[in-house]
Subunit: 480 residues, 4 copies
Amino acid sequence: MKKYPMDNEIEISEGLHEECGVFGVYDFDYNDVTSTIYYGLFALQHRGQESCGIAVSDTKGPKGKVELYKDMGLVNEVFTPEKLERLHGNIGIGHVRYSTAGSSTRENAQPLVINYVKGTLALAHNGNLLNALELREELSYTGAIFQTTIDSEVIAYHIARERLNVSSVELAVKNAMKKIKGAYSLIIMSPRKLIGARDPFGFHPLCIGKRDNAYFLSSETCALDAVDAEFVRDVLPGEIVTITPDGIMSDLSMCQEKKAKCIFEYIYFARPDSNMDGISVYESRIMAGRILAKSYPVEADLVVGVPESGNAAALGYSMESGIPYGMAFVKNGYVGRTFIKPKQEQRETSVRIKLNVLAEVVRGKRIIMIDDSIVRGTTSERIVKMLKSAGATEVHVRISSPPFLNPCYYGTDIPSGEQLIAYNHTVEEIGDMIGADSLGYIDANRLSEMVHGNLDFCDACFTGNYPIEPPVIDIRGTQG
Amino acid sequence: MKKYPMDNEIEISEGLHEECGVFGVYDFDYNDVTSTIYYGLFALQHRGQESCGIAVSDTKGPKGKVELYKDMGLVNEVFTPEKLERLHGNIGIGHVRYSTAGSSTRENAQPLVINYVKGTLALAHNGNLLNALELREELSYTGAIFQTTIDSEVIAYHIARERLNVSSVELAVKNAMKKIKGAYSLIIMSPRKLIGARDPFGFHPLCIGKRDNAYFLSSETCALDAVDAEFVRDVLPGEIVTITPDGIMSDLSMCQEKKAKCIFEYIYFARPDSNMDGISVYESRIMAGRILAKSYPVEADLVVGVPESGNAAALGYSMESGIPYGMAFVKNGYVGRTFIKPKQEQRETSVRIKLNVLAEVVRGKRIIMIDDSIVRGTTSERIVKMLKSAGATEVHVRISSPPFLNPCYYGTDIPSGEQLIAYNHTVEEIGDMIGADSLGYIDANRLSEMVHGNLDFCDACFTGNYPIEPPVIDIRGTQG
Amino acid sequence: MKKYPMDNEIEISEGLHEECGVFGVYDFDYNDVTSTIYYGLFALQHRGQESCGIAVSDTKGPKGKVELYKDMGLVNEVFTPEKLERLHGNIGIGHVRYSTAGSSTRENAQPLVINYVKGTLALAHNGNLLNALELREELSYTGAIFQTTIDSEVIAYHIARERLNVSSVELAVKNAMKKIKGAYSLIIMSPRKLIGARDPFGFHPLCIGKRDNAYFLSSETCALDAVDAEFVRDVLPGEIVTITPDGIMSDLSMCQEKKAKCIFEYIYFARPDSNMDGISVYESRIMAGRILAKSYPVEADLVVGVPESGNAAALGYSMESGIPYGMAFVKNGYVGRTFIKPKQEQRETSVRIKLNVLAEVVRGKRIIMIDDSIVRGTTSERIVKMLKSAGATEVHVRISSPPFLNPCYYGTDIPSGEQLIAYNHTVEEIGDMIGADSLGYIDANRLSEMVHGNLDFCDACFTGNYPIEPPVIDIRGTQG
Amino acid sequence: MKKYPMDNEIEISEGLHEECGVFGVYDFDYNDVTSTIYYGLFALQHRGQESCGIAVSDTKGPKGKVELYKDMGLVNEVFTPEKLERLHGNIGIGHVRYSTAGSSTRENAQPLVINYVKGTLALAHNGNLLNALELREELSYTGAIFQTTIDSEVIAYHIARERLNVSSVELAVKNAMKKIKGAYSLIIMSPRKLIGARDPFGFHPLCIGKRDNAYFLSSETCALDAVDAEFVRDVLPGEIVTITPDGIMSDLSMCQEKKAKCIFEYIYFARPDSNMDGISVYESRIMAGRILAKSYPVEADLVVGVPESGNAAALGYSMESGIPYGMAFVKNGYVGRTFIKPKQEQRETSVRIKLNVLAEVVRGKRIIMIDDSIVRGTTSERIVKMLKSAGATEVHVRISSPPFLNPCYYGTDIPSGEQLIAYNHTVEEIGDMIGADSLGYIDANRLSEMVHGNLDFCDACFTGNYPIEPPVIDIRGTQG
């Protein structure tokens, strides 16, 4: 169930999927930015392993000429040196998209590049619209045609139509934002501008960076680090930033009081070395471990984290409780996209192939095992069993998030109710089902302690408090 | 300069490129049609080697669910068994597109599949619109966005918009046809209908076939033969045919008196085993040879054709003149897409690598060499030189078409004036330039003899008599 | 069953397979020869489509350093520009190998590069040894190990062992030739020498070419033409030629009186534009047609050849009989290695997909159809049926070879007795089985007329007169 | 610089390379073992990322029929489902080989499959021979030819030759072992036997496992875990084990008193969850950390390990010193084989792309950073700099091995003297060069504490005490 540094562990994990990562750069000194985007996307790979793409343009070249390449696969699979060498430009955007089985297609990869009345636009989008179906229908009735099933196409349409009435792309973006409802962190490239926009709730992160005479937009700060850029600031919820050689223009007219930043970005999605809206992901995880230690103490010999995302919380638990921190697991990092999953009848269990227990560490010990979440429960059950087979005398499971009870409509792939073990089982029942000697989840009302007491967060998947009313029809799965 | 059976001879040839081939099938017995489309496209491969695609649907399945796969490459390169096995349906369309260097992209491959107000449509298009730019602009001003640069997207938009006002797809197609101007043979798949349409001038071919309880639409009859289907009839210029389980509906209301079928389909593009609008391609080429023999007789020992397309005309010349027919060339049929072209400085000439002369045949002989056309003249020059090096004492070149003088706006890739050797050289000069002892082209006013005296043909590339006024801006290169 | 220009038509054809083609070059001016070998192999592709390889060395570089690349596939599939660019040298050899289903492996591709007591050798071999099994066994008993199943490995071992006793590679080759029995045309590259050797019977061709300061060895002259080299002479049966900067040394001590050149090279295998041992392949085929016309005349309206290899004989038949020559077939040249073969239950017959009849040509006519051979009879049956369906009133089949009755042990993939239709059927029965109105084969005793009355040929597959006694155990399928 | 779970980090690391991993299985119940070998190799991937291969046979099938597939690449790249499905058998062996730039070739991949006097053998070899050159030369003088440059070919030859004189393969293996000198852990598959052999010094590990009615041989126990097999015992240094349906025969006649197991297997190569010769790799690393804490104590705030291999030693240091353990680094696990390395001139440093510092963790702290080794020093320098840029006030580097001073001739890719930073610099100088505030290496004379006081180890790379005299000529780089 672990995430970062992750390894496409679809097979063993009950993995939750972030929808996307976005990255953009505009170099005013006319240096080629293609490989910079490549490294930026590489640092955001954990946000999406299904497909990726890069669109670049030369702001000195013919206006509107955009070079695009996108395909299914990891960044280092899609962008071979040959492919990368064909792309040139001093402005560009990139995108990584998450991987689900089957439904994904090359057509749905991003960035989306369109030609419209005022020229060319490229879009990269992280999030999920709630009124996309209505908007598609409305557009349809005016004769619009759709070639993908992603929300980004709906956004593009609205920008294109609004552009007829206003004098700049950024104003068109603002007018489009008035119509679209939901979660979106957007990077838009027009022939001479790089535009970033974040929905008024700020569900997903977006930040600004700088290196010499180049400006960056990125889902996470870790991608700025990777390209040696300095973090400038976060894009604010509701803000539209327009980067041109004249500077960064900020339009705050869509900002609103209520924010709803996704708390699960801190728990699981984001890279621990990222900082989002002023809060360190790593520290929020350490804090989660501390909260767990205070809420659900237990006598034990060792605290271990399920790699990788459980490690920081385990360290926090250890710090708070004084129980030693240990490494109980070895993970096989070679699982790639084409890894052949063991069949059911095969003896080799898929968890064991990717995660092995260090028997020396756990033998004869009472273990506190920290993980970030339980979705269906099968992976947790297997890992607990592995620990016990290796000689652990007790296994106390602590989860650095509350139980999942509700689907997410803002861009996270949380399964619907029946598939969630917590949906129709008590915590005690779950503990029994996974074979734990005790089980503790972070209480939903203590989540804010993870993030400096901040209350601007969305915790709907745990509490059902949806900042935007969920749609009647399930619209999940069309996320950018 | 030869075409069929061709071998992707971009490198040595001055090859003219047909734009596309289209194929569709609807099986009322619910058999899977995917492999049938594969073989149909394979038989149309000579009409386009750049990219290909197949879209299929199950008329019993969820309405509007279309499975699509398309990519750059030949039919047998793109559709590996694995790819083919993923496509299922009893209705489907396919497309092959021609190959040019560089400008081609995967986005522009066809069929185009769109979602619109009334569901899903897939389109395959052969031809070229003359007012596509205007139409794009118009659409743009209503907020349309474009993700490809092909005319088919413009057609799709119009059908989608017209569908708002009328009660069926075929009526929407008709209304769209009232707006689009140019050359198009279209196959459209809606969830329960297969529709074929041909522009009122009938520039490019389209025919109907039948096998058991399945109906076909195809650019050429040779693809019907390949799938063992019977030829039913040609789609008429201006006709819209709608194939449903209830039968084939025909709407003739767009038909007009004036026709302008591309004469070059007979001279070069089409496969010799195809029959188009009642005329055998093979016989029209035999007749071309006979016309040449009558117009430009010469004393000689042997008539030879430049393979493959020159062979039939050479045989016709031989029949008419009584001079024996011979085979002077051996062609290497293994040249594939990735063939490495010799560099200029290399001794191996690229013509020689693909075409060798049978010295035994030509040594000491006066040769009449028949080819279908001369574009830039360089290939002809090399072939004449090869014949002479092999011992031919005289080489009289006869061309089974008139000199190219004008660009084509209806879907053929004829270079613009300056690149055409005939543009600023007399026939005599050209003969000298290519080293021929004499040179004769078919006279433009005798072309109709090739096609049974029929005058319904477009010969604008030779005569400049454009059936539709050429556009002010050059719109070539966006053909479907 | 047609061969050249062929199209890998394994599926539809009863195709007989030549085993291999070899090509070598030594450039004394130190030019890189890699691409020259590429083009040479490309011209020999018809001799083997299974696998190919190139080994090159720099005669100025470290002695014995050989760069090798080989893999399954056609020349233009295996040697992408990237692969080709990694090979450098002024001396090199190449090989193409034929394709069979299943048994072929990358390990068995050639050239074979070995390290042995005196350094490095690369070998390319066309032919088949008769005593390879015994030699392998003998070698085994001295502790030899084998990593391939090709005869070339046995030859390499013998050269390596003989080299211990003699002062030069070419002497070692001669001593090895004393031990190996069978058919072989060999090209051997040592660090500073290019050696060619042909077995004393001269079963398969090998010739010498020259271009500027570079010397060539090639299976066929067509490959010399392709690289613009001049034909110098054939390597004689039994001759060993050693090419060094000092000149071409010839060792004739292994020559013998009795020769046995494969007659089927002329009938089918070789390219018509090649000349072998002083005889034009094309002319021998024309002559075959003439012989057929004299032996098996029939009243008819048209003579047609099954493309490609039947065309020349058809022309010869027409010349001799005065019956007009025509083209009855159109062949689809796009069939590549990955072409998906129709399943039995599919309506599309595989012959029709690759070969279509020109109905206009044959309708109402009495046809004489010339093919080069009949193996199992199924393809012939299908083609006759296609002609009749297209309206031919009579189909008289003439075969430009005698009936196959015996397997070949010298390098041709002729199936064993039971699979040969002629093995247990009379000519009349065969004619009935394939639906022909009459059937005539060239009489075995007139074969010599094809080749200028020359009697130095092997016709064992037709007559059973084996120049070397066949082995007790069937050793076919290990050919180089 | 880290190893396990590693990520092909050739680019950023000064990585030392283990040569190979071997795995074999014999299922007496005739279950197919191919996928079991796949998972076994996958668990051994850290021992070699250059190439891999699997050879299987059916002990009920035709004697000596071996199916083999091998190629360059990681296990999950080489063995796609299609490739794996083609291999069938109930006995088989597999191999992974390490990756170096350039010199590696497909020919050198293993297993090696040979045909010899007694049938077929497949070999997989981990180690390096010291007298391979002499043995090759000797073999050469008897006419042997070599098609690879790997030692395994030399071993195969000797087994083949010895087999002429003795009655079983295992006796031939023993006799071959008398001739070969060096490090080798061998798995050999004959048609009906699976044989394991370990050189008398026991340089590299080899162990036996069991699952139901199947027996296993493996380089490390972690691969037994991955396939759910039980560890039975280690193969002893000098032992030959022969697994047949009759049981496991053990031949101890080659065993000797002196052992020399590679200590670096514990420090770096092996997976921490493996147990070798009775010693847990994980515990030996914890112990290394403890030794360092005792030998080189320092006042600090936090102990961190360079992931992954430094983590266990860091934990040990923390335990011993009482200084808290922390995680300072985030590693990007997505770097695959085709990852594009940043060019020198690019701002993005390659270390930063793969490893980022958690600034929150290190800011304002005195850090003890544990790594397993320093080879050239450049990576250590960069990591220290990253820590200081992130705000660490002091960085004390502790290395869980002594300084490298000497090359290894037994199968490890340690560069030669000049490239080793410790070769001509004192520890103090090195500390200065990498920017550390202090630097401590484990003392060579305390190494035995890591492994329970055991003295049967080879530490030649640190001490120069070579258990077998190094050869005069450098023979490294031909390892299996």
